[in-house]
Amino acid sequence: MADDFVRRTGGADWIPYWEAGRRRELRFQRCTDCGLWRHPPGPMCPRCTSMRSEWARASGRARLVSWVVVHPPVLPAWKERVPFPVVLVECEEGVRTMGGVVGATAADLRMDMPMVVDFAPSPDGDLVPQWRPA
């Protein structure tokens, strides 16, 4: 039960995001009609109500907005990894997303520092977008 929960991540709208990550690509949904980038993904553009969208490649450059360091109690899949950081970043495209940290520790993080996307597996083995200091 608990391990199933790790993969319940927002439903069908999110599948292209995680699939892009497996190919080492950071992609976000963008409105085909008005060009607005949006995240989290959804069926309709909140600016123009268009239901047409594409999954466009993002630059992978971002700014660190906030972070936490997760301590116990955690789900079984994470027990060997605590404490670990999770970051909230704002991408150049204007959308925000989250991820783990690679190539640095929580002590290296500074508010508003530049970050770049990288890819590393989640505990279930899938490559997912992660972040490292630029």
Partner: protein, 387 residues
């Protein structure tokens, strides 16, 4: 038409809080409902409406059937867990104001102390309002699923932008514990200091154990009736002077990080509508129950409900502003941090006691009493008044 003063809370009931209450939420909901009806001097046959949290595992028909309620002509629910409480009571008042009910039972029973954790997938609870996508788990591949992580992500940026420190968070925990110390049903009564807070272990840095509410088994109920009925009952009515809800733009449950301004909560929207309906200002309010699942939420509410300006909430709490005798005695029965965490129904009951004059930490002569719901999710607020 406004619901202002059209309905009142006339009955409250709650069971002693526990880590393991030893019986199901279906049973404890009934026990609490019975206590609330007795408190009001009403019978199950008087009940014609019910409102509940959508995350509540016990359905209205099961409660009505067991209590022997002859007919429910008004029933419904509000979602988003701890964001729902004031909305649940607000909808009860709206139904009464619209003539759809005369006597509405509101209940919340929850075995969160003994019954598993929603974030770990081990609880019976499922919030129907978020069931399709489970927005709280959007970032589960990063181990980011607990409410404490989501509040901590907000909190680090909030402290940074406002110039607040974790010691300010500590002052909130200290005040709640002080209020719980004379409350015999509070789960945590041993006084704490800011140093105790700063020494407690990290759960999600920057938040520590003493920033977190309690894992509680509990059950409580509230009876809301039409104002003309309220005058003739056993208790002094707590009139619902104003009720509001708010969601704000582009809301995501708990992970509400995808809109601008980033640090604005749904509470900012509920606050605006609440003061407009009430026709009073925050300066007129002598006591508040501000939703405190985690300490940073209280700092945000002090700003957004207008008790201080942005950046001033730190001094507000470190100057003992939340304590009896302070600028705004807050969570006077100990709140979610020290009395019990039951999605805020205990806060609604304590707000009612302040109007009745029966709080264990009574603010003398309180005529207005504010209560708010969780502000990391779609939220609500109530302003109660006495005669």
């Amino acid at each position: 038409m406004s619901l202002r003063d059209k309905a009142a809370i006339v009955g409250v009931g709650q069971l002693p809080f526990a880590k393991d209450i030893g019986r199901s939420e279906d049973v404890t909901a009934l026990e609490a409902a019975k206590l609330a009806l007795e408190d009001a001097g009403l019978r199950p046959s008087d009940v014609d409406g019910m409102m509940k949290w959508s995350i509540q595992v016990t359905s209205e028909n099961a409660i009505a059937r067991a209590l022997g309620v002859p007919n429910l002509r008004f029933f419904g629910e509000v979602g988003y867990g701890g964001g729902g409480g004031c909305g649940v009571v607000g909808h009860a008042a709206a139904g009464i104001a619209a003539g759809m009910a005369r006597c509405v039972l509101v209940y919340r029973s929850r075995n969160r102390g003994s019954g598993g954790r929603p974030w770990a997938g081990t609880s019976r609870e499922r919030d129907q309002s978020a069931a399709d996508t489970n927005e709280t788990a959007l970032f589960a591949p990063y181990g980011f699923v607990r409410p404490v992580d989501q509040v901590a992500m907000f909190a680090r940026r909030f402290l940074h932008e406002r110039g607040y420190t974790t010691r300010h968070l500590g002052w909130i925990a200290v005040a709640m514990r002080r209020h719980a110390s004379n409350n015999p049903i509070a789960m945590m009564r041993e006084p704490i200091t800011v140093e105790d807070h700063e020494r407690s272990r990290f759960i999600s840095d920057p938040l520590r154990l003493l920033d977190c509410c309690l894992e509680t088994d509990g059950a409580a109920a509230v009876i809301v009736v039409a104002a003309d009925l309220a005058r003739d009952l056993k208790q002094k009515p707590a009139y619902i002077m104003a009720a509001s809800q708010g969601m704000g733009p582009r809301n995501v449950t708990m992970n509400n990080f995808f809109k601008d301004p980033l640090l604005e909560s749904p509470g900012a929207y509920a606050a605006r509508d609440l003061w407009r309906m009430a026709g009073v200002s925050p300066r007129d309010v002598p006591v508040a129950q501000l939703y405190d699942a985690f300490t940073p939420l209280v700092l945000g509410s002090l700003e957004e409900y207008g008790f201080c300006k942005a950046g001033e909430a730190g001094d507000f709490v470190s100057d003992h502003g939340l304590e009896i005798g302070g600028r705004l005695p807050t969570n006077t029965s100990g709140g979610s941090l020290s009395e019990a965490y039951v999605h805020g129904i205990n806060l609604i009951i304590e707000a009612t006691r302040q109007i009745r004059g029966t709080s264990l930490n009574q603010v003398p002569g309180a005529k207005l009493s504010l209560v708010t719901s969780g502000n990391m999710v779609p939220t609500g607020a109530l302003l109660l008044r006495g005669d």
